[in-house]
Subunit: 343 residues, 2 copies
Amino acid sequence: MIAPVEYLGNKIKIVDQTQLPGKLVFVTFRSYTEVVDAIKALKVRGAPAVGVAAAYGIALGAQDIKASNKAEFLSQLDKILQAFAASRPTAVNLFAAIDRMKTAASTADFATIKQSLINEAKAIHADEEAATEHLSHIGAELIQDGYIILTHCNAGPLATAGYGTALGVIKAAAEQGKKIEVIATETRPLLQGARLTAWELMQENIPVTLITDSMAGYFISRGKVSCVLLGADRIAANGDTANKIGSYTLAVLAKENGIPFYVAAPTSTIDLSLKSGAEIPIEERNPEEVTHVAGIRLAPKGVKAANPAFDVTPHQYITAIITEKGIARKPYANSLKRVIIEE
Amino acid sequence: MIAPVEYLGNKIKIVDQTQLPGKLVFVTFRSYTEVVDAIKALKVRGAPAVGVAAAYGIALGAQDIKASNKAEFLSQLDKILQAFAASRPTAVNLFAAIDRMKTAASTADFATIKQSLINEAKAIHADEEAATEHLSHIGAELIQDGYIILTHCNAGPLATAGYGTALGVIKAAAEQGKKIEVIATETRPLLQGARLTAWELMQENIPVTLITDSMAGYFISRGKVSCVLLGADRIAANGDTANKIGSYTLAVLAKENGIPFYVAAPTSTIDLSLKSGAEIPIEERNPEEVTHVAGIRLAPKGVKAANPAFDVTPHQYITAIITEKGIARKPYANSLKRVIIEE
């Protein structure tokens, strides 16, 4: 079992997800700015994993703060928190982690504040590990023997620094002895499905068939898919869910063909402060991710390209949202609140 | 204006579409087997263009036949016809062209049979050119000023050895002075949208934005697309339409969001011998087209991949089918027959 994100006292070690599956490369960061850059470059990616990496990055940055009192310390810490907040806009786990680190700092004694921040980052990591493992076992109950599950992007251990969300549910169902298969979309532009999901499933000996994103409708319409199951980057109070670009399309295809569309996410992904998905900021990334693959130009020079990294699936398309506190169903405005409050 | 397919007496010259947009390379074939191989390798692709290339390839092969009577000639010609029939299964224009060449041979005098086949191939080409230009002008009436048109794969001059079908309609609307924009999907696995559609539209100075296939739903659901417009590889008698993999998904997205979904195709693409799309054979291509891009492996070694090259859009999703004989609308079982009979 690989540790996708690890805190080693004065440094953070991560798996560079951009190099997989060709090479399994670990990179080590000794400054928080390197962690910010790694998040921006998607070396560490996946909503829960980004939250964990940011928490450790904040703890790492905090160790280097030189301050003579707590107010001074908090003011310097704030600069670090802001750098992480500006790294990626869509996944809320990042902001949830930043908030927890900020609260931990503000409630800590000045004498032990640096250690408190390390402890809080470790607690965030442990909480995500526990949450993803727990939600995976809860979600596995929805997966029937013989299911062919279509998933999008990557929501496995790499993405969560834990057990996985969508892939966690799949792993847990397989561990229960259910005979299941997975259809994984390659997930252009950055091919997290081809590079990471296929790789993680092969490591687990779970049968997987790779397809292009455009093939999902073909297999769904021909009755070859039992359900769609994916992770989430941010879930609004009404259940609208931001996830990797292309998720909305899969939801429409699932509805049109009468199969369930499941979202698996820890409660740290739920953002009750947003009424609906319309308020979720969508990251627009570099168009070169669309015009190039693996550094090779595919499209004509000078062509305009768009690159929204996420889309929002309206709540009415979602059959169930699987969390570590239970499975939420429509109407989500009630069920998500209940799930969070049970905390 | 480039000639995508040209007959030059004892040879055929084509644009190698696999090299675009990086290089504009013309390749010359002196034997029919080279033409068969070029069709299989998608050096010449697009349903109407494949029909034209096959017709010329058959004429070319016929010139080398040594026979002392017509029966002997036809028997040798049959081997050539079979080689082309086995090159690609889905697009019907190929089979329509083969049928026309077969009929031309069987009705020709033995003394002039070789010239008759050249003439028939040229007639097929001229017919496709006239049909695509005519349908483009008919279809342009559906395109309103200010439209943002989403298209998939490539249905331009390269694909048709003529004016284009979907892109022909777009060109004709632009020539009418309508201010239009195009959103082109890259069209994995072989990226005909990124490589060919973007390139052809840039040549015509028509504004184009390139997106990944997975982004279509994002733009359609946010009201950024006025209509979906694409070509076809085979249309069954009931209107079910085979086209590049991913077309069905766009049709579902169009229906869900209340925008028109238009198919543009010459009547040579309509196959009244098939009751429905269930009878259309779907080509399954090499999985390496999915696991690799531009020769670079993207997915883990040994991963299983699927590669259906087409899907079928059921007739109920299609707002109109634009042909050179007029615009067919539901119920297609009547309107398509009427269009063909008006021939």
